[in-house]
Symmetry: C2
Subunit: 293 residues, 2 copies
């Protein structure tokens, strides 16, 4: 199976798993549940759950053991996007080519849909830990890893809002991105490794890989936000600059940013190459650098 | 010790515990952490953590085993208030006599402070479960109970926003309050009982007590919002009516609401009286009905 086929297969797998957790019973809060479904099934790249599964596959075959974490991770990512888009934060009207949650529903619903997803993610994993005691300790460690990642993601998001329209020091820009985008990508790779029972040495190496692709992902995001294709991106190009956002491109320029991206992705590939069966994760690093949306 | 003394002692105990989890290190997100501290230490009644501790005391003496849940519960309650007050939801300027979080800081900070508290609460309990394996199963059950309570609280909050300015059926009003206010009160009592290893029969009885005082708490809230003292309440009286909120008072009138409150509190007292050492929880039910803030 070539990389693109495998990527799509994993994406479909995750969409199928996510669909199982959609709540569509006829209850008084059914519109809230619809708004959760709207954002959750809006066609994301599913990068974070794919990282959980693919990292696990370096060590084990029974990937279904990672599914509840894969679902929870995508819910957390979706919560972060819904709140990020709110009028009080980025005030974005479009995401992935569709109206943002608060534009499609309303602001109150979007705030509560985000809250609901954050909580629901924990709820699912806790149910799994309680009802399926196999590898309970690993799962608890993995959930703590998720929790730490969320904490850092929120901190990064906060810094992003604080520095909007202001000059930012290089060190803060890196800290911001390391947290805002990097933390959940890092957590995804570590969760996959922890669930598979990887050694501490391997977890450390994989963490380094994750930090590189997390930073690479953000730099590419910044580049696409400057010169990407609005239609493919599903959101307006030039948005970040207009809002006075601090990005790699506004800080270092396009050329330097592209060069930094190449170096970081090469580093990531070198690190992951020390593992057997690492082809997919190598290709995934390249995909992050070369994607157009 | 009389009831008021014991209530205050417990309140101080909880404030001391909460203080231990305030993050005030010099990091780039320190204003976010300040905003969390601002709302968390704004002088709440601490009813929910007091319920956890007091329910536990029906069965056991070593109440320190409940502290991490007491802290987490108050963080969850505070998160719900911060988001509830946001311009996109209730748009309130004052809470407990102080500016609401988004008025003191800004909207982005308030959204993220709420998110941070919700996540931090899970984080603390997970750390305790992982690092202190005694009674791990009970603690996992208690955390699942918290998680379910949060889910229901968010659903209730959503219904409140959906019916603002609209006529509401009695059954929906009860469903809304059962979830919005009742769910965390119910979860608090159940968490205290679960942590103490209570029998299922006792948990069921205590759940009934919790549901009664939860409903009583909301009816009293609605009455205070109509005829309370603005200074004591720390927020404007008549607020609910002005916003077209559905409350017991707007639905049933003052007299009928007061009568319903009395009946419910009497029921709660009758249920809790079957337990030894239930004096504090009896007095607490009366306190809920008679408070002026």
């Amino acid at each position: 199976m070539d990389f693109k086929e495998e990527l799509n297969k994993k994406l479909e797998l995750i969409n199928t798993e996510l669909q199982k957790y959609i709540r569509n019973d006829d209850c008084p809060e059914k519109i809230l549940n619809s708004s959760v479904e709207y954002s959750l099934m809006a066609g994301g790249k599913r990068l974070r759950p794919i990282l959980i599964i693919s990292t696990y596959e370096l060590f084990g075959k029974d990937v279904e053991k990672t599914f509840v974490f894969a679902v929870a991770m995508e819910m957390i990512h979706t919560f972060s996007l819904i709140h990020d888009d709110l009028p009080g934060i980025d005030n974005d009207d479009y995401r992935r080519g569709k109206l943002t949650n608060h534009k499609k529903f309303n602001e109150a619903t979007a705030i509560l849909a985000g809250d609901s997803l954050l909580n629901y993610a924990y709820n699912l994993v806790l149910n799994d830990i309680i009802n399926n005691k196999e590898n309970q300790n690993r799962k608890l460690q993995a959930l703590q890893e998720l929790s730490y990642g969320i904490d850092r993601m929120i901190a990064g998001e906060y810094i992003d809002t604080e520095y909007e329209g202001k000059e930012i020091l290089g060190q803060y820009l890196e800290y911001m991105h390391k947290n805002k985008t990097g933390a959940l990508i890092r957590a995804s790779v570590r969760i996959g490794a922890i669930l598979a029972g990887a050694t501490q040495e391997d977890i450390n190496k994989l963490t380094l890989y994750a930090e590189k692709i997390g930073l690479g992902f953000q730099i590419k995001d910044d580049i696409l936000s400057e010169i990407g294709d609005t239609e493919k991106l599903g959101k307006p190009v030039g948005n970040d600059r207009e809002k006075g956002k601090c990005t790699y491109v506004t800080k270092y320029g396009l050329e330097k940013s592209s060069q930094m991206l190449d170096e970081i992705i090469n580093d990531a590939i070198e690190i992951i190459s020390s593992f057997d069966k690492s082809d997919f994760l190598k290709e995934l690093a390249l995909y992050i650098a070369n994607r157009n949306k």
